[in-house]
Symmetry: C2
Subunit: 740 residues, 2 copies
């Protein structure tokens, strides 16, 4: 790690203590006007229980709410640690400059109406950023609800409710989500260590905030609400570091195109593709959820369970139906019903009546009481074939649900003293009779859920978190090819003003990175094509060469399975004629003649590279062919990757099953496929001028892989350098994380 990077990380949380543990405050824009942001914020600041000094500023008033009010910041008798700003938009920049002169180093800007007010608003916002930077003031907002630190009595917000104290930090890009979460949490008694509304992120962003919360002793878990951001490298660096220490649960909206557009109009953030965020959160060791209740369920689940290595669940129940419901939920979410061991079956036969289900789900039958719950759970906890156990209960008139709960709690307590620790999840069905049992589980810190589906979600939350943490643990070291060929190919294309490499260039790049291609020749005309066909022998494919045509097959620029010189010559001439009509503008540079590959049982894959505006280069893997988007079976990983990450990436697709061997086919050479992905990752890390790459189809069978068709686009050095910086900054996160 370089000194420079150390400096960058330290910089990001400079003066954060003044933001979150200030000794004195000033509210600029204090007012009595009922229902205004200034009045609500003043009430919150006074009611929060803040012990330090609070000053008010408003040039229009000498006193507000019975407190003295100063005409400007300069007149405040002390240098406040933190300023809270609620003035009209056009006055904010001036206030920031005054605060700088006064020596205040932290501000929360509640004022809204910048990013959404067109060019004038954007100009105001730039002025604020410049003023804050010039005066070294840390700024949260503008366009935010504020910040809350219940532990120190700080409520610098215009939220309608104050949170109680707790050990969870909530960081949100949307103010509306802050108030909704507080409103939802209050009757549930859920408390917070910090509530931070980031707003438009003129200065403080997710990266800075995560870095600060990483070492915040009051925070045990972090919840993020994300709509989108622009600096992916900084985010990843901080995120990977914090995720190694405490759970981070992220709710990101904008999963689809329509939603991304809406997010754009809301925050003005440049949103990347959502699947890239997905890959980034996973790579950062985070757990992604889809709804607000899931966010809190996940916190509770992770807080009440230990690390879990696998995805095999045993279900214990006193009613068959709910057992099947839980199994349905498990399988549909990608979990695995555990197989009971022979020893376990034998023990259960001795404990349970002969009518028990003799398998998983373990249905003890309706009249099972505390004794059956205790003995069965004890037995299941000892089965090494299971990674966790879900205990269900249906109310009956024949046995008390609370007594069953007590037996389960006692069993878990005593089994925890032995070494066979396994996570136990519970769901007592119903509500009227289930409520007392749920209270018992809550008191014992055992995860409990209203429905079997929710309980399975809890189990899968542990499974997904383990996957994400495994990805986090991988630190790929790129292995550059160290060969001047690719640089030369790229330089030639850029010099010629071409974005897409020609066939020779593509072939050269793939060859340097050891990605196999069929034998081929580049020729100038139909006669050359015929000669090449003779030379190659066997059937050939003929492809038009044109710097202006990317999707050759769409304009009849590809002919397959041509036999003999005559057929090749005729096809070449026909192709020229057709393309001259269809695309008269296109420059034609001859043909590319390639041996036809006869591997009818090979699987068609796609492997690719592209560059996300937020997170930089990404590697694509999936099922190939002409309808990649419709088959929709791809997975993304941020570059750089190693073989382990490539394997995990492949496992997230459906085609993975096909690669294992199918209907009598032997398994494909999976290591060879993984190697292609890793080499592509190396390629783009070493050559940031690579903008896009598609190998489609990449054939895979037992013999190995073969790239049948590939396209590579390059970009200028200027863009490329910026991208390289982003990747290096992402690596820094790994460096931070491995420090002792």
């Amino acid at each position: 790690m370089t000194a420079n990077l150390c400096h960058a990380v330290a910089m990001s949380t400079r003066d954060f203590d003044r933001l979150f543990a200030p000794r004195s405050l000033v509210l600029v824009g204090a007012t009595d006007r009922a229902g205004s942001v200034g009045a609500v914020t003043l009430a919150n600041l006074r009611n929060g229980g803040f012990a330090g000094a609070l000053y008010l500023v408003n040039p229009k008033h000498a006193s507000v709410a019975g407190m003295p009010c100063f005409p400007d910041v300069g007149h405040v008798p002390q240098t406040p640690d933190l300023a809270v700003i609620a003035t009209p938009p056009d006055r904010v920049a001036g206030v920031v400059r005054q605060l700088g002169d006064k020596g205040t180093r932290a501000a929360v800007i509640l004022t809204a109406g910048f990013g959404e007010l067109g060019e004038r608003g954007r100009a105001m916002q730039r002025e604020i950023s410049e003023a804050a930077a010039a005066q070294s003031i840390r700024v949260i907002g503008p366009n935010c609800v504020g910040i809350m630190v219940p532990d120190v009595g700080l409520n610098a917000s215009f939220a309608h409710l104050a949170p109680s104290n707790g050990d969870v930090a909530f960081v949100s890009q949307s103010g509306a989500l802050i108030t909704a979460v507080l409103d939802w949490a209050k009757p549930r008694g859920i408390g917070f260590s910090k509530v931070i509304s980031l707003g438009d992120m003129a200065d403080v962003d997710f990266g800075d905030t995560l870095e600060y919360l990483r070492t915040d002793a009051a925070t045990q878990a972090i919840l993020l609400y994300v709509e989108g951001f622009s600096d992916g490298g900084k985010f990843m660096s901080a995120a990977r570091a914090v995720s190694a220490n405490k759970p981070v649960i992220v709710l990101k909206v904008g999963r689809n195109a329509e939603a991304a557009r809406a997010a754009h109009s809301h925050t003005g953030a440049l949103a990347g593709s959502d699947v890239v965020y997905d890959a980034a959160f996973r790579r950062a060791g985070m757990l992604r959820v889809d709804t607000m209740p899931e966010m809190f369920d996940a916190v509770e689940t992770l807080g009440r369970t230990g690390a879990q290595s696998g995805d095999r669940l045993t279900i214990l129940t006193n009613g068959g139906g709910p057992g099947v419901m839980a199994t349905d939920a498990l399988v549909s979410r990608g979990g695995v019903p555990a197989q009971l061991g022979a020893q376990t079956l034998e023990k259960l036969n001795a404990i349970l009546p002969p009518t028990w289900s003799h398998g998983n789900p373990v249905d003890m039958i309706g009249d099972a009481g505390p004794k059956e719950y205790r003995e069965t759970l004890e037995t299941l906890l000892g089965d090494p074939g299971s990674d966790a156990i879900l205990v269900l209960n249906c109310p009956t008139a024949l046995s008390d649900p609370s007594e069953a709960a007590k037996a389960v709690i006692e069993t878990i307590r005593t089994s925890r003293t032995s070494d066979g620790v396994r996570n136990v999840f519970t769901s007592w069905l119903g509500e009227y009779s289930a409520a007392p049992a749920r209270a018992l589980f809550d008191a014992a810190q055992i995860p409990t859920y209203d429905t079997p589906d929710d309980a399975v979600d809890g189990f899968m939350c542990r499974v997904r978190y383990a996957h994400s943490q495994a990805v986090l643990a991988e630190i790929p070291v790129p292995d550059p090819a160290a060969d001047g060929t690719v640089d030369a190919v790229i330089a030639r294309a850029l010099a010629a003003g071409r974005r897409w490499l020609d066939s020779d260039g593509v072939d050269a790049v793939l060859s340097v990175y050891q990605i196999p291609t069929p034998p081929s020749r580049t020729v100038a005309d139909a006669a050359g094509a015929a000669a090449a066909a003779r030379e190659l022998g066997g059937p050939v494919a003929l492809k038009l060469r044109s710097p202006d045509i990317t999707h050759k097959s769409e304009v009849g620029g590809v002919a397959l399975d041509l036999h003999g010189e005559e057929e090749v010559r005729n096809a070449a001439l026909a192709m020229l004629q057709h393309v001259k009509t269809a695309r008269p503008d296109a420059r034609l540079e001859g043909f590319f003649v390639q041996s036809m590959v006869r591997r009818p049982d090979a699987i068609e894959l796609i492997a690719g590279l592209s560059v996300d505006p937020v997170f930089g280069p990404v590697v694509l893997f999936g099922r190939g062919g002409t309808a990649v988007e419709i088959i929709a079976d791809t997975s993304l990983e941020l570059a750089p990757i190693n073989a382990a990450l490539a394997r995990l990436q492949m496992q997230r697709t459906r085609v993975w099953r096909l690669l294992q061997g199918y209907r009598g086919q032997p398994p494909a050479a999976i290591d060879a496929v993984a190697a292609v992905l890793v080499r592509l990752s190396d390629l783009i890390v070493e050559h940031p001028q690579i903008a896009e790459l598609d190998i489609n189809p990449l054939l895979a069978d037992a013999q190995g892989v073969l790239a049948l068709d590939a396209r590579i686009a390059v970009t200028s050095n200027l863009e490329a350098n910026a991208r390289a910086r982003s990747v290096r900054s992402r690596d820094a996160g790994d460096a931070v994380e491995v420090r002792p």
Copy 2:
């Protein structure tokens, strides 16, 4: 409709009034023993408020719980309308016979331990069924929790809680789900018209119960909990009739293989494949859900909204984030964000501040109050481009959530008097401040949900219900080919003891049903194959003929793209040699030589038929190729179908999009594909001896369709006749439904 069918339907609900509105009761197996089924049931019967006479029977006691107790049914001084039986298993059949002698015509058998107790239990259960049939007694159970009719004070169950009166009927195959639902419903104040635990269904089953509830005036909606059943025809007949009158919501467990196995061990029912149930519920106009809470949400949603024609939703919000969350949920569940009309945009520009989102979601910005809600909703209700509106609210300190709710309620109330009726769904985020607003919506019977996700589920529930009701409305009339060829082909195969038709037979069947195939020849040996290749001209495919090899490609029995006589002869000889080693047992009958088809841009589909053990013949459509199971892009429909149903079936796959034209390809001949599905349906309806059929691939492009490969299996007349009966019984449902 024939008299015979009328009789069958009437029979199914005979004496149901004695079950659900008895004037007198007898409990057989009454006891004082605390915690026993007999004691709990007696308490429930006495506490239910039943106005008629209640008699107790138990040979061991002269009185129970202070009431006189008779030694047997014969001694009861009156003929009770309904008997409730809680004796040990081996005494139940005897009690049923006594009841018959007494004249009682209805019984609820609570006793468990038949189906799950091996051969002895099954024998006892058969004895009960026979006794009940002989004595014309309607039986619910055995192995059930009982039945409850709060309206008449009947609680003939050993459930731990009594339901309150309401207008929803709950019918469950699992007793555990009965108690769980009652426990869940009690604190929520949800009442029931009937609660019916069907248990092992020795007599009364889902079909009978649905037929009874169809005309039950006390029941406005029906909830079913299903694990599996055997008589699909009877179920469909009753289900289609009732769904035309009132909503039926079904929770069926066992979505996957593991779960189906568990259900099997639980109820002993012969479970068909779950996707067939899915098709059947949809065809029956029902709404399928996955969890218990969804079941009640669906009842509420359907009860509080009107019919809805489309899937386009407009989202109205005062906070951007929740709007995006709702859009995410909408798109991920298959709904469509509505496009605002130009007129609507213009009106909203006049109503809302300039910072509003200018699109859908309509984000009015955080300080929107009742006036903005009213005016905006009014405008949106007038936009014909939207099928429904979702109104969201985030709590703020600047505006009261309850005031916004009142404005929305008032707007809906006044707009309902005009003719532009659109469904409005609401979700007030949070809990503390949202609770009073939710109470207002509940009082106004406006659907309201805790989260935007739940609200979108509510909207989609209306969308799916509309789809299901559209399917219900289609009544296909099969159009038989009326040609003796197929009968002859089938007879020849059966006479030869062959399950799979040979190539000639397949070709003949497809030809009668006008399904196009490439030119082909059937030959006896390698020399014949070479001659056929010369005759056909161009490249050919060569396929081995063997009655013992179904998947020819797996044993090297298929060679493609052979050019010229020499190549065909060599391939044929090589094939013979290989198969003789790989499958020495297989009988070889020569070869099938087929012109190679050159339609590289055609889409590979699969079309097929098979016979479900519960629901009879089904038609399959989907993406074809060698990995159909892994691509997992198929949809099922019960035969018979018509062109409209075939189209709806195709639209449920991903490949549907591909058929619309993709990457410069013209749209495929969709009508031709639909015609193939309809003709296959006609084939199996006219020839119930067809057991299985696969056309894979079925090529489809702009020119039309072409069946490249097909396999057809047939079965004996005995099985086939049973199947034909099942299809006819299903048709009866349609007949019932179209009566005025």
